[in-house]
């Protein structure tokens, strides 16, 4: 049994599968909503969690990492991102998020575009994010296309679950995409789902045809429930409308995204057993569909019994900055110390960025916690993961230790002092 320091050098030397690793002595955050466990042990083998908790035996022959003074936590799941499908959101040439002049909508499949070498993947991984959902955005129709789940791992196999969900906007954005109103969006939705029952009868690609056969075919698994329908919706009355869709289309597997006014209809969401991936800290009436937004939304939804995770939806900066999730979750804990606000305890807050989004998307058997059998997405932090001063010192995805070097760390090192030395900065690497 060898003790290895959790230093960057150790990471590069890390072998991949077929080894057993035990991180000992750290504070363990499982991610399932339970409180952190001091002086715990996390064991993983062949890319899967074996055990995590207080009374866990270290198997013989395990590589042992000293986690004393550190936190050993489930990897963060970014539930709303554009990782891998755009390099720079403001640079159209680099973007595969929208397709403004394509005839297709629901048929669009982001898994065909994922670029594992995009620098943002490494940067966000360095912040402890190990998995993400990748969402396309709407342009000419309420359906944006099919999103995927990815691993933020180095290497070429980042695609975890292609076509996990269909993304639809039934908010102001959807109204715009449908031609200018919510009734237009619902008319389109009904027509599209009717066409999904018989894709062969859908229209040909034509200026006058709203839905292609390919789009209709892509909606068939939505109709049957084989594919999740992720619905961006904010206003309380719109949420009710969406929940009502299940009466007409009982096969739908709905997940709500945003839901700024969800707290106003929390009991109805809970009764419908529809999970929510909320905007964590949206508290401004930034639109007329978010008039009642409050940071207490997530806490109130949770209290009502809704399965609720948080995400970057509606947040400034959008799809890249998954690293903010720990800060957002920490803020939900802070609310518990403010009279009148409804926040979450630490374990619940951490779950909103790990197991809850995984559960919402039907992936909690695979990712989102350190429970036995899950993929070994393990992050060792130098302190409380939700605290602003903390950062990961080691990241494992599927049990494989990842590099924490990024474009940003390279720039930082190059410009530790701004002046040139004996050669231009371009030679400094």
């Amino acid at each position: 049994m060898t003790r290895v320091l959790l230093a960057a050098a150790a990471l590069l030397a890390a072998p991949a599968f077929a080894e057993t690793v035990a991180v000992t002595g750290g504070t363990v955050a499982i991610g399932d909503g339970s409180p952190p466990i001091e002086n715990g042990i996390v064991v993983f083998r062949d890319g899967r969690i074996v055990a995590a908790g207080a009374n866990v035996a270290v198997p013989a022959g395990a590589r042992v990492l000293d986690g004393r003074g550190k936190w050993v936590a489930a990897g963060i799941v970014g539930a709303f991102s554009t990782l891998g499908i755009e390099d720079v959101s403001g640079v159209g040439e680099s973007r595969d998020v929208t397709a403004r002049t394509s005839p297709f909508s629901a048929a669009l499949d982001v898994s065909t575009a994922i670029n594992p070498n995009e620098p943002q993947i490494a940067i966000e991984r360095q912040g402890g994010v190990t998995r993400a959902l990748v969402e396309p955005d709407t342009s000419r129709a309420i359906f944006a296309g099919q999103g995927a789940a990815i691993a933020l791992a180095g290497g070429k196999d980042v695609l975890m679950r292609p076509r996990l969900f269909q993304y639809v906007e039934l908010n102001e954005g959807g109204a715009r995409a449908a031609g200018g109103s919510r009734p237009a969006a619902y008319a389109y939705l009904h027509a599209a789902l009717a066409a999904a029952r018989n894709p062969a009868a859908a229209g040909l690609v034509d200026r006058d045809v709203l839905l292609t056969r390919a789009d209709a075919a892509a909606l068939a698994p939505v109709l049957s429930g084989a594919q999740i329908l992720l619905v961006h919706v904010e206003r309380a009355s719109d949420i009710r409308q969406v929940l009502g869709l299940k009466r007409e289309f009982p096969g739908l597997r709905l997940v709500l995204l945003g839901a700024a006014e969800g707290w106003m209809v929390a009991d109805e969401i809970a009764a419908a057993r529809v999970p929510v991936i909320a905007a964590a800290l949206a508290d401004l009436p930034e639109s007329f569909e978010r008039i009642a937004a409050t940071q207490s939304n997530v806490g109130r939804l949770q209290k009502a019994g809704v399965t609720v995770g948080i995400s970057l939806v509606d947040a400034t900066g959008g799809g890249a900055q998954q690293r903010y999730l720990t800060q957002f979750a920490g803020n939900l804990v802070a609310l518990t110390r403010v009279p009148g606000m409804t926040g979450l305890d630490w374990g619940q807050a951490f779950a909103t960025i790990t197991s809850k989004p995984a559960q919402a998307m039907g992936l909690d058997g695979e990712i989102g916690s350190l429970r036995p059998g899950r993929r070994a997405d393990v992050v060792v932090w130098d302190g409380d993961p939700l605290e602003l001063s903390s950062a990961p010192v080691a990241v494992f995805i599927d049990g494989v230790q990842q590099s924490l070097t990024t474009r940003q760390t390279r720039l930082r090192d190059r410009y530790a002092t701004p002046q040139e030395g004996n050669l231009p900065k371009a030679y400094d690497r």
Binding site: G90, S389, R412
Partner: protein, 472 residues
């Protein structure tokens, strides 16, 4: 679905600490004609502040950790303020008769947060077209517009910045669609019926300029100059050349009398900059463009107070220091546009380490609610890069440094006796994610109290709507 408002919004920095370096006016000190003169028009104040401090009571907060805003720290200290002003901070301060005494055990007191870059009021919530008043994007230079005429004093964002962010003073800037966006206004974060009612008394005007992608994109798309970075600088220089001539005419009139020069509102603002009375806040991301602007300012004889959004400021920290120019930056924004591609979280710490004047800013209705947290992230990134910055020094990034950049450091920005009693009591260390403002005073008046729902401002817009008066 993402918040795209930021793309057209720009930052401008000002460093009041550098005023001594400002080029002096060329006017002669000895006018030979004693006849009455119309004063130089850029010195006039046609929309004067009507802000008045609300009443407060003498207040002593005891047993707190004090970060005084200009690098000082007192553990187990007390803060006393009365009649709207800081009376003193220290270890042993007695409560005057009739003072309200607050036991702050385990808590922190700081001066109020100052955001040097905000668009509250000119890009308010709700973000509908009818209220979108931040960019006069009809010409690449619009020095004639004043942000205060766009500020909607009912923006619900002011209340969030107060209650969640402890923000007591903020600069509202025009956006960055234009090379020269117009004048900014500095306001106290106190709701009023009019923008004049919020204006910070005696604060100098700022002037918003922008480099880079935004102006060339906006006007290139209209098929007009500028459509390139070289076009950006060319249009700026042609405009400054006119301003120099305009100011020369007014200076000659001041000196010699004669025909009153024709008034030009755009050139008034630029002449005010050349005169050192209006502080330049220049949105500029890239290191090379920052250098170009510095040279341009020397060519025409003005000083850039601060570069805002300087995501590459760390690459030219030495240049900024040598020229006495501040950098106002985010903690960790990167990659949302080409010119932000090289953003790194160590930016603030590297600037501080190089001895440059640095500060945090928000440019965002959400970020302004958490500037203390942004500072904490920047501080931590610095520490991991081997740059140790104490809490009390880090707090300068949202207190005295922005106050200097706004030219109000003699009035607020720290807990020095005699300054405005802009004070936040935090329910823990404000550099922790678990901490929120507990009470906020502005000019000694208690305007937010987390324990009292009546001390929670509700703008006209939110009155009578779902969620009115709710915790936010």
């Amino acid at each position: 679905m993402f918040n795209k408002r930021i793309l057209l919004i720009g930052l401008v920095l000002a460093l009041a600490g550098c005023t001594d370096d400002r080029p002096k006016s060329a006017s002669s000190p000895a006018p030979h004609d004693a006849g009455p003169r119309i004063p130089e028009p850029w010195s006039s104040d046609p929309f004067p502040s009507t802000y008045r401090a609300y009443p407060g009571v003498p207040t002593l907060v005891t047993n707190v950790t004090i970060l005084d805003g200009e690098g000082g720290r007192i553990d187990g200290g007390s803060v006393l303020f009365a009649e709207g002003k800081i009376v003193g901070i220290g270890k042993d301060i007695a409560a005057p008769a009739g003072a309200t005494v607050i036991d702050g055990r385990g808590k922190y007191v700081t001066p109020g947060v100052i955001d040097v870059h905000s668009h509250l009021g000119d890009y308010p919530s709700p973000a509908v077209q009818a209220l979108s008043d931040g960019n006069e994007a009809t010409a690449p230079t619009t020095p004639e517009v004043w942000a205060e005429h766009s500020v909607w004093p009912q923006d619900p964002g002011f209340s969030r910045a107060l209650a969640n962010g402890g923000v007591t003073t903020l600069q509202i800037l025009p956006g960055s669609a234009n090379l020269m966006g117009g004048r900014s206004v500095t306001i106290k974060n106190v709701y009023a019926r009019t923008a004049q009612g919020m204006k910070f008394p005696g604060a100098p005007y700022g002037f918003k300029m922008a480099c880079g992608e935004n102006p060339k994109r906006v006007y290139g798309a209209k098929g007009r100059e500028p459509s390139t970075r070289m076009g950006n600088i060319a249009v700026d220089r042609m405009t400054w050349a006119k301003a120099v001539e305009y100011k020369r005419r007014w200076d000659r009139y001041e000196r010699d009398g004669g025909e009153i020069p024709a008034r030009d509102l755009a050139l008034d603002t630029l002449a005010g900059v050349l005169d050192g009375k209006i502080l330049v806040h220049n949105h500029c991301y890239r290191a090379d463009e920052i250098a170009n602007v510095i040279d341009m300012s020397k060519e025409f004889g003005y000083h850039v107070t601060a570069f805002h959004h300087g995501v590459e400021a760390y690459k030219v920290a030495d240049l900024l220091k040598a020229n006495g120019i501040c950098a106002a930056v985010w903690a960790d924004w990167y990659g949302f546009k080409m010119e932000s591609y090289d953003g790194i979280p160590e930016n603030l710490a590297l600037l501080q380490n190089a001895g440059a004047c640095a500060m945090i800013h928000s440019d965002d209705q959400n970020g302004i609610q958490r500037l203390n947290q942004e500072v904490a992230k920047a501080q931590a990134a610095g520490r991991r890069a081997g740059i140790a910055i104490s809490d009390e020094v880090a707090w300068e990034w949202l207190a005295i440094n922005p106050a200097r950049a706004l030219g109000i450091a003699n009035k607020t920005g720290s807990l020095k006796p005699g300054k405005m009693a802009d004070v936040v009591l935090w329910n823990g260390n404000p550099l922790s994610v678990y901490t929120r403002p507990e009470m906020v005073w502005i000019d000694g008046a208690l305007l937010y109290d987390s324990k009292d729902p009546k001390k929670r401002p509700v703008s006209d817009f939110e009155l009578g709507q779902p969620g009115e008066g709710d915790v936010k």
